[in-house]
């Protein structure tokens, strides 16, 4: 099966900060499209450097033909030790590789689970876990189907509704429901990203407390072989 892959990503920086610490890179080659969403956690110069470094590492390694799990391992291994989970000095990332033969691989480290919409319905992505230098990486593999949509968000997105009077907040489950509600068969990859960033920004009253970032893959089939 040959597929066409459309991708889109965007970020909204933390309020009163010009630069976004979250880094998103999309690399397209003859085999498929790879993307990284590197989350700078609680911000700061160190996080910014680490996310840039992770993104560049992914671009360089994919260029040299390294597999996606190898890229994930390398990024995890290259992180400086001493950074505590959830604190500055440590980054989180989501790596997505979509090949034109229909294989999609996802590698994640401390980021919210990716949302997979199959014909507009949320489908759970089965993942396995492996430890790399004491850090747990979640990886999953699926075969793409027509009109699949994969959406990844940074950790900042989940903190968007924390100042609102919401019992459950803007959690991953709510984001998934929202994406399913907003799904349209004519939707482009840009639409879910635009909607998520607008919703996150709106819930933060236009003053996000941390960087908001989203990445979307939209799969459409060209022909079945």
């Amino acid at each position: 099966m040959d597929i066409s892959i459309e991708t889109y990503s965007d970020s909204v920086p933390k309020y009163h900060e010009g630069l976004c610490d979250d880094q998103i890179r999309i690399v397209r080659d003859e085999s498929g499209v790879a993307a990284i969403l590197a989350d700078g956690r609680n911000g700061g110069a160190r996080a910014s450097l680490l996310t840039s470094f992770a993104a560049k590492m992914m671009v360089a390694m994919r260029g040299s033909g390294a597999s996606i799990d190898r890229v994930a391992d390398m990024i995890a291994e290259s992180q400086p030790s001493g950074g505590k989970k959830g604190k500055a000095g440590n980054i989180a990332f989501t790596l997505i590789l979509a090949l034109f033969d229909g294989t999609i691989r996802v590698e994640q480290f401390e980021t919210p689970d990716v949302i997979l919409l199959r014909r507009g319905r949320p489908v759970e992505l089965q993942t396995t876990q492996r430890a790399v230098q004491g850090r747990t990486i979640r990886s999953g593999k699926i075969t793409a189907k027509k009109a699949d949509m994969i959406v990844a968000v940074g950790n900042g997105m989940l903190t968007a509704g924390k100042n609102r009077k919401l019992k459950d907040g803007w959690n991953l489950k709510n984001i998934e429901t929202y994406m399913a509600n907003a799904y349209d068969s004519r939707m482009s990859a840009e639409d879910p990203v635009r909607l998520l960033l607008a919703a996150g920004s709106s819930l933060s009253s236009g003053k996000p407390a941390s960087d908001l970032s989203a990445l979307a893959f939209r799969i459409s089939c060209l022909r079945a072989t």
């Binding site: 509704g161 459950d168 709510n174 907003a182 909607l195 607008a198 819930l203």
Partner: protein, 513 residues
């Protein structure tokens, strides 16, 4: 709409004779009213079985000449008209209440000792025979005990110089007095020259002096005591005595008061903000105040639960907030029916019902003008809680959870609590910015431009690119409509929008088909 407020003026230290006269008047008035209620009991109960609305006028017509004449034995000639008016009002309100609550008891304006013991023994007999249960018995007996011997206030139906009541003013002492007609000719009291040095003028057009000649008098004159606010209102009444209307003589804790209904001057200030007031998801109400441009200025919940809202009154709170922000209040029409408010199961009992909201809207219709604000605007509430305040998209899919709203078109997200009121606050701006659609469809011999609501049609030649002739024709059409009466409210709204538009091109949206 006229707005009234009641001034509570104390009758300042009346002498023994005046007190006796007032007590007698109060007693006779109460007895006469009870007499009327007893006389027409059967007729009124019969009327309560009919399904048509009974007006006060109809009840007044029921009183025959003989009964009216028999009222004279109570010596209530000075306030007979007022008494009849009050009787019809009491009966009409009883009938109206009985339509919704069939258990409503027949009114008892006054219970003397005899009537009290008779009513009490009836009540006990009904309880003994099992006709009424213990709860009903308790309720009735408490009510009887409460009513026993309580005097009804005397109603003065009009403000007049030589009957009912009027106010007097001594400009040298800057004091106000009340002149109350309490006696009939037979019971009139002798009056001589007044040597108190008072120079009393009627609070009436032209401020005529009160005659001080000796002779029989059917009235008493009592000085009034009041606070600063009442003083300001009375000063206003001096300038315009027509503001004064009916009043009541009330006895409360051995003190006598005159409750005067005074008309408030309506000074409407221009609203600079809009305030949307919607039913709250978690009970009570929520409101949003928006600037003219649509920017949110304030967003809050007013009361946490319905029980709180029933005590004093939420309409006062809303009126105060609106006055503070000089806001045009926008409410849900029809009490918020079909607003699709998502109510969590645990909050169902706390939420404002459609009936509560309707009552609130009714109160705000006179409370807001009382604060110098325009009356509230009621707009359609269809799908209010499913409509995006930013882009106007209305769909069930905007509901993420019971508490979270997120628009699937523009990404606006907020708690449901605020969505309703924000939509209302922005609705007027939206109405103003909405353009009137004119459909342009292609025909064999050219283009046809039409608007069904207005009934406007204009044909343009084929291959036309300039719509100027159509706009000119539309301008003439709007001008012609100015001279005709427009019965259809929708049509009137569209016409008004175009008639007030400085530039028709900017107010019209062409739909090409």
């Amino acid at each position: 709409m006229m707005i009234f407020k009641t001034l509570m003026l104390q009758l300042y230290k009346p002498g023994k004779q005046k007190r006796d006269l007032m007590d007698t008047a109060l007693l006779r008035y109460s007895q006469a009213l009870q007499f009327l209620m007893d006389t027409y009991r059967n007729e009124i109960i019969e009327l309560s079985k009919s399904e048509t609305d009974i007006t006060q006028h109809l009840i007044l017509k029921m009183i025959d000449r003989e009964t009216a004449k028999s009222l004279n034995r109570f010596d209530i000639q000075p306030f007979k008209d007022s008494l009849l008016l009050e009787f019809s009002a009491v009966a009409a309100s009883y009938l109206a209440r009985r339509q919704n609550h069939p258990q409503t008891g027949y009114p008892l304006p006054f219970l003397d000792a005899q009537s009290y013991s008779r009513a009490m023994s009836d009540c006990v007999a009904q309880f003994d025979s099992g006709e009424i249960g213990p709860q009903r018995f308790q309720h009735r007996s408490f009510k009887l005990v409460d009513k026993a011997g309580k005097l009804r206030s005397v109603y003065f139906g009009r403000y007049a110089m030589n009957r009912d009541y009027c106010l007097l003013y001594d400009e040298f002492k800057d004091r106000f007095y009340a002149k109350l007609y309490l006696m009939n000719r037979a019971n009139s009291i002798p009056g001589g020259y007044c040597a108190s040095g008072l120079s009393l003028k009627y609070v009436w057009d032209g401020m005529p002096f009160m005659s001080n000649l000796p002779g029989q008098r059917r009235y008493i004159v009592v000085p009034l005591a009041f606070g600063k606010e009442q003083y300001a209102d009375l000063k206003e009444a001096l300038k315009n005595p027509r503001l004064l209307h009916s009043s009541r003589l009330v006895k409360k804790d051995r003190q006598y008061y005159l409750m005067v209904n005074i008309e408030c001057r309506q000074i409407t200030r221009e609203a600079v903000t809009t305030m949307g007031v919607a039913r709250g998801v978690h009970g009570g109400l929520s409101y949003t105040i928006c600037d003219k441009g649509g920017g949110v200025r304030e967003r809050k919940r007013i009361s946490a639960c319905r029980k709180q809202s029933n005590s004093p009154d939420l309409s006062n709170t809303i009126a105060e907030i609106a006055a503070k922000n000089r806001a045009q209040v926008v409410l849900e029409a029809n009490g918020g029916k079909n607003d699709r408010m998502p109510v969590p199961a645990q909050n169902r009992e706390l939420c404002f019902s459609v009936r509560d909201y309707l009552l609130l809207a009714q109160k705000l219709k006179y409370k807001l003008p009382g604060k110098g604000l325009p009356p509230p605007v009621e707009v359609s509430s269809n799908g209010l809680f499913l409509t995006c305040p930013r882009c106007g998209t209305r769909t069930q899919r905007n509901r993420v959870t019971e508490e979270l709203f997120a628009c699937i078109h523009c990404g606006y997200a907020a708690e449901f609590e605020t969505v309703g009121s924000e939509n209302l606050a922005k609705r007027l701006d939206k109405y103003h910015s909405d353009k009137v659609p004119i459909t342009v469809s292609k025909k064999e011999d050219g283009f046809l431009c039409c608007n069904k609501i207005l009934g406007f049609r204009c044909e343009l030649p084929p291959d036309t690119t300039d719509y100027t002739p159509m706009f000119e024709e539309l301008g003439r059409f709007i001008g012609r409509m100015r001279e005709t009466y427009i019965d259809d409210s929708k049509r009137y709204a569209v016409w008004k929008k175009l008639a007030q538009a400085p530039d028709l091109r900017k107010s019209v949206h062409l739909l090409l088909r």
